[in-house]
Amino acid sequence: MNCAECESLLHPLIDDEFDVGHARDVEAHATECPGCADKLGAFRAMRKAMAAADLKQTAPTRLRRRIEAALPLPSAQGIAPLKYFRLPRRPFFGGFALGTALSAALAASVVLTVIRTDHEQAVAAGVVSAHIRSLQPGHLMDVETSDQHTVKPWFDGKIDLAPPVIDLGAEGFTLLGGRLDYIDGKSVASIVYKRGKHEINLFVARQLGTEHANVTDRTAQGYNVRHWSDAGLDFWAVSDLGPTELNEFVRKYRPALHGSSS
């Protein structure tokens, strides 16, 4: 074996990538050749120094949590099906408009203790939280217009459903605009209406649980919530409007849904 051959074989020797026979040949050459012996010694020493040094890295706990949270695991948030599996990139520093609302929603969903039987109640609480959040300055609308033909296309490609946007201006409910929100681990569309000084958030999501043909009444934290499902979608209307007026909103909206071509 000459020095050139030996040099190319030093590394497999150092790395234990050789069978014993080859290793013996290289070591035999190194014992006779001081130059190759020096190299072998230096590379081994360097490797030993690297092994002793702390070169490994520990992934930050928040990264681990973020990855786990994005998996559709059974958790306190209930079922998060695959289509909602999205890893938020840098959720706490994201420059997108929903960043704050999103992290607030995630934080809120941690606070909620949800057992499957209480799921409905939990979703209602999430809906109310999202409503309260939306009332903070600058959070109510992503698209601000009273034109239903602007609001509806705005949702295209942003969410996997086409929320029915209905102009109820003639009924005394002014369409203000729309927004993407995040409730119970799912992206939802919100259509925002106003009567007098009272905002109404109408949240629309793909129906996942049982159908609620009849409207369910709830109140949480002083807000009225109306929930029903229709045409494969779940609807929640939330407002600080009185129960009578919110019922009126639902009564006007539901038939209009079937009247409109959407």
């Binding site: 497999p12 230096a42 120094a49 040094a53 890295q57 998996l71």
Partner: protein, 191 residues
């Protein structure tokens, strides 16, 4: 909606148990490739997202090299997306900061102290590795930090074993010359 919710949960649980234990290895490679902690975190997330999406079709190789290969692809797509512009932020692993303390790369000289190796602290060793050019840094990290075999490195880097061997030889020669040029006391060599 794909699959039954319980099937999805079961898949997610299996994926978490199989893949998450390697997060430190994945993060380490990301850190050395991206040279920036924040970018590294993004790449690790991207890696686990892609891995989960392909988990159903995963049949091997071993989980660690499989994840590292996905991570490497994610990093290289990111480099391509940025138009090859590697970022340098204010980070101890950053190219520029490290370069200030590093001489220009040289092939090893045949000076008399050729067999001597200086003692360096961990921070200096990390910096020396971080300043290696990309393909050499990668092979050193896969070998010395991730503890992969030549065969596994070949799979992760998508090159023949011969290339792994020649890259590793060059990488160690470069590292050794830089190692001895960086200021530190001399160590005895291992005979």
């Amino acid at each position: 909606m794909t699959g039954h919710p319980n099937a999805e949960q079961e898949k997610a649980r299996r994926f978490r148990d199989a893949a998450l234990p390697y997060i430190d290895d994945v993060f380490a490679l990301a850190r050395y490739l991206m040279r920036n902690a924040e970018d590294a975190e993004d790449m690790v997330q991207e890696c686990y997202l892609r891995a989960f999406q392909h988990f159903e079709s995963y049949r091997g190789p071993a989980m660690k090299p499989w994840l590292l290969a996905i991570l490497r692809n994610a990093c290289y797509s990111e480099f391509t997306r940025r138009g090859k512009r590697e970022v340098s932020l204010d980070d101890p692993w950053d190219d520029d900061r490290a370069a200030e303390q590093m001489p220009i790369w040289q092939e090893p000289s045949t000076s008399p102290d050729v067999s001597l190796i200086r003692a360096h602290d961990d921070e200096t060793i990390r910096r020396l590795i971080a300043t290696l050019p990309q393909p050499f840094r990668e092979v050193i990290v896969l070998r010395e930090v991730n503890d992969l075999s030549y065969q596994e490195i070949a799979e992760v880097a998508g090159v023949p074993i011969g290339t792994v061997m020649s890259r590793l030889a060059r990488a160690r020669s470069m590292l050794r010359s830089a190692w001895n040029l960086a200021e530190a006391p001399m160590l005895e060599t291992v005979p």
